[in-house]
């Protein structure tokens, strides 16, 4: 019992590691600030393309989405970071994370938006078009607001996944929360810094997980 406390819950070590963890948390926040808005926007693009009436647009878009849903994000990240330099493109760790997350998020958010758009009856766009709104206006003012509301739980849930996923940035040595915690672990030979990092993730994400549950129940009701 004591061994467990010492190995996982050594508060002295946690305190020592705290400044490092904070730095990591800032980087994690920075990654989120970049990849989540971009992902939310790129997802709309992916959804619209994969719903295009033109087959030549629709099929490649669906193939793109499925491809990046089939690839593990960490594979994508390592490919971008370690594979692209062979083609003369040398992204920094942060750029590599941004690129990999853009591709992964466009696919995942895209599928969510797509389901949302499909959930809106044809009557809505027909009514809008009959008043003279163009296709783009109809999408922007009539279909998308309703679609987003219908899939809000999925959007939030995926955003939780994205925040969790930022932890893989540690494998390309980007000094985010988990990377810093693992550095502290390797210096102290003690897992407590990672447990502390887990605590930070919990504090941030548990409320969001609860929110998802509540949103899901409200939609179902």
């Amino acid at each position: 019992m004591d061994a467990i406390r010492q190995q996982f819950f050594d508060f002295d070590i946690m305190r020592q590691a705290w400044p490092m963890l904070l730095e990591g948390l800032v980087m994690t926040g920075l990654i989120c600030l970049v990849v989540i808005p971009i992902g939310l926007l790129a997802g709309i693009g992916a959804a619209l393309l994969s719903l295009s009436e033109r087959r030549i647009v629709r099929w490649p878009s669906i193939a793109f989405v499925d491809l990046f849903r089939a690839l593990p994000p960490i594979v994508l990240l390592i490919f971008v970071y370690a594979g692209l330099p062979f083609a003369g493109i040398r992204p920094s760790p942060f750029e590599a994370v941004a690129i990999a997350f853009l591709l992964n998020n466009a696919a995942y958010y895209g599928e969510i938006y797509r389901a949302g758009i499909l959930s809106i009856g044809r009557g809505q766009s027909e009514a809008a078009r009959s008043t003279g709104l163009g296709a783009g206006q109809t999408m922007l003012y009539v279909v998308l607001p309703q679609a987003v509301r219908n899939v809000l739980p999925d959007l939030v849930s995926n955003t939780v996944e994205v925040v969790k996923l930022t932890s893989i940035a540690s494998v390309v040595s980007l000094a985010e929360l988990l990377y810093q915690a693992d550095m502290a672990r390797s210096v102290t030979y003690n897992a407590s810094p990672i447990v502390a990092a887990a605590g930070i993730y919990l504090v941030i994400l548990w409320p969001l997980v609860r929110l998802v549950s509540r949103l899901e129940r409200r939609i179902a009701a």
């Binding site: 996982f8 593990p72 370690a82 594979g83 540690s170 993730y201």
Partner: protein, 234 residues
Amino acid sequence: MDEAATTMTPGERFIETYFNAAVMERYLPAILDGFVVTLQLAVLVVVSGILLGLALACLRAYRVRPLNVLIVCFADILRALPPLVLILIAYFGLPNVGVSLSAFAVIWIVLTLALAAFAEEIFWAGILSVAPGQWQAARSTGLSFTQTLLSVILPQAVRLTVPPLTNRAIAVTKSTALGMVIGLSDVLGAATTAQSFSGSATPLMMAAIAYVILFLPFVVVARWLESRFKWRHA
């Protein structure tokens, strides 16, 4: 880097870099071994994760207060924590308290728990979605609570859970690639090793292709399940 590289067309250079036949031939056996490891893990995680999740959801149906609080906390925590965090804690922390697990076992256990958390929530939502009249009708015919749950409620609940469960199982199973971080020789582990030995990007491309071969069919099936599901409820 050989002399010929300078005279190659961009297309040839691309092939040479990412689809180098010699490199492919040399590392194909290693990647295939990794593929077997990934496949084993994937099957194990899906089976144990879904079974554990189903068991927890069924337990929750008995509505024993303290037990339910534990189940909800388990599901919330496992859904809020990045799997990589748990993997590092288990792999680097546990040996110091006398529990030494292989990388394979760590990935299996952590991902099983992660999938079980999501599966529990999905099954629970499915159980709740069955109309209360079904419970009442079954109980009125003399079926016990457990009989009602297993033979009346679950069969109806499970149908609704198939599309979200498929998506979640794919997402969690893809995380087996995280094993690379703790030295697991799965597809990604084998590929990164091969990449550093060969100095070529080809093994990474092979890994990407291997994952696409493994997961794309499930992604396509999930898409099909979802559209069928929507159509049925339209």
